[in-house]
């Protein structure tokens, strides 16, 4: 899968990636080209650090393929995984609104292809161009909604429901049952992403199994009945499956 992704990435130009991002869609051709010319496609191995919390922000990134972890580090050395992002997502761009300082770190959790774009170019485009400022507002607003959903989930869903929600968000309504899906990254990362210790994750996964008849073998999850799962998960959430933010 990574090889295919890398091939696809090689066929893509910085310009086509930029044109595919809603933040840049409102820009005129010349500005899009200026961004494309100042950007580079990068292929990184697993574990590469894009930036650390409190680093001055030189670049922001558009993910072309692979998963990137956003994290903060506590004083006693633990890591909070505050988000996991994949293809099509941007990261690091918010630093230009934070005095040019990254307020979290970012690292790859598998081989990742991305486009890196200079922060100062985006900053000056927002400062000069009203349509770009409006596009950035829409982008931040989507982000705000994503975070609100996250806070709600951490507040009200129990550990089993959070795991079920994670799986449900990988499904599409109308998919033929049983639905078979592969976990996108390893279980310890999923646990961290959902704010759980490994032991809690294992116990909660067992409970989810018994409550919803899903079957898990290694990284493959089989969901015999989507309604069983969504009934269990979405009762403790303010939105129903399919989540509106997944379009």
């Amino acid at each position: 899968m990574h090889q295919t992704a890398a091939k696809t990435a090689a066929a893509l130009s910085p310009l086509s990636i930029i044109q595919g991002q809603s933040l840049f869609a409102a820009m005129d051709d010349r500005l899009q080209e200026a961004f494309a010319q100042a950007s580079q496609i990068q292929q990184l191995q697993k574990g590469a650090v894009l930036f650390l919390q409190d680093d001055p922000a030189e670049w922001f990134y558009v993910i072309i393929s692979g998963w990137v972890k956003l994290f903060t580090e506590t004083l006693d050395g633990n890591e909070a995984v505050i988000d996991m992002l994949s293809a099509g997502h941007m990261l690091g761009d918010s630093a230009i609104l934070e005095d040019g300082i990254h307020t979290f770190g970012a690292a790859t959790v598998e081989p990742v292809t991305l486009l890196r774009v200079p922060c100062n170019l985006l900053k000056s485009a927002i400062d000069r161009d009203h349509t770009v400022a409006l596009a950035m507002l829409r982008s931040l607003s989507r982000h705000r909604k994503r975070q609100t959903r996250e806070i709600e989930s951490l507040t009200l869903q129990n550990a089993s429901q959070r795991i079920g929600c994670f799986m449900l968000r990988l499904c599409h309504p109308g998919q033929a049952e049983p639905i078979v899906l592969t976990l996108p990254y390893d279980k310890s990362l999923i646990a961290a992403r959902l704010g759980m210790k490994s032991e809690t994750f294992s116990r909660a996964l067992n409970k989810l199994r018994s409550e919803t008849s899903i079957v898990i073998k290694g990284t493959v999850v089989t969901i015999p009945n989507l309604e069983d799962l969504s009934g269990y998960v979405c009762s403790a959430c303010s939105s129903e499956f399919p989540c509106a933010d997944l379009g």
Copy 2:
């Protein structure tokens, strides 16, 4: 205290409240006056609903005094308290970036004085005026940081640390010890705000007492040693006391 606040509010004009908000500071005098003329000061009792999730957004609000709860409601009828806001905070303004729909509900938890401002006025100001769009970007960015901190805390801090963090954020560095403070709203709301059931809150509060020597009588908290408390709380956080976002 509420009477004093109400008196102060009566002495305030919509214009002076608007001028005190950073979102409006970048606007020229005429625009500030247009906002002031279209706005009204409201005094509400405890339990008043400002708007519900999915309501069309007619007004947004600046809190002059008192506490307002932001919440979402789950399908099974539980409430997630996603934020608690007090004097100086704005709420509901983000709806203008969400197709004019409120993505959460808001209700007072005590007598509250606020200024209500028409959403359409802010929307057209952002659409027309670049400096207003930039001010809104800064406002959303502050909000994003607040939410990131929240997610980190829910992910990594245990229940006792979250309660301690809540208390610590009510203190100022350099305050003479022992520090005596009054909880700003009742314990069941604090529990909900911190994403805990009442039983969890009670147990966690007992643990916090034994770990940090704080004393709690009713709504009054005595903190004999700030360093004891911050040592216990901030070890599981990426920032140190005093939190940068409290300026």
